[in-house]
Amino acid sequence: MRLLLLEDEPAIRSALQRALRKWGYEVAAAASLEEARGLLSAFQPQALVSDLKLPDGSGLDLAKELGAPFILMSGYASFDDAVAALRLGCVDFLTKPVAMKALQRSLLGLTAGDASSELAVFVPAEQSALTAVSASAITSEPLFTKELTWTDREQGEAAFAAAGACADSIQERQVLAELMQAAEVARVVVNHGPQRWRAWLDAAVNWDASAEQRDRRQFIDDLADRALFRPEGVIVECRRDG
């Protein structure tokens, strides 16, 4: 597979290029949108791995032009960036520094159409008191994308009713319900495709020391352990406030 790598940091670009080649991909690397555009006609990439923020624009712009599957990397991703990427068919959204294992897994998902993945939850670290999270496997060309917001339980339950209706499996609905109950004020973007759905949650989740929160986190961890959905799509690190 021909991959176009777009990364402005020379050291990171070089390391990623080496890794991608080692994994068997044909790689062309560029440091800017302009340089990447110059490579398109000769190289004809089948997929894009790009930094979100580049000196002359956003990796999303090139992804839009290219129309090929893409993986974004960013150290400063906002929830809006993630939503924009989702709507454009982003396969994965990796937080920098990118773990090579995570990138390799995302690339496998990209080539395999990611049929194994069922649910991804994205919680931007800087907005949510959570760290080390990533989104994965966002379905391309979604049939349905809807943003839901809530500020109290009543609204949350109404939002869940709309979101839950999109979920095919009861496990997915339960994970969404647990996360919504863990969050006090939040919004969620539900992305519903023909085969699967994704929920992106932007939430201030405080996994406090209460028994209920401990149970809730344990439940989500258990599901991840049993691989009902990909672990990297689940909250993996949490900060306890206070």
Partner: protein, 95 residues
Amino acid sequence: MADDCAHWSGALLWPQPLAEAAVIDMSAVEAIGVWAYAWFRAHPRQAVVAAPQRIRDQLQRAELPVLWYNSLNEVSGHRSGVSADERSLLWDDVP
């Protein structure tokens, strides 16, 4: 025993009142949220029948004090706690 049986049903994903009884029939429960764990802790040794395996696995992993039965017949053969007669004997209160 079968007369004192509550039938829970559906996707119990959000907090809601749960019927109390000597036996809970969970055969029609699709899913149960973590919020319900507190209920089970407040009702130790609750008899539960016909829970789908996935729900049983979930509640067992949470180490909730539940007594599991496959059917109501099994429950009727089980006497939980101490009967009134046994209590009388324990307290040396035999008439």
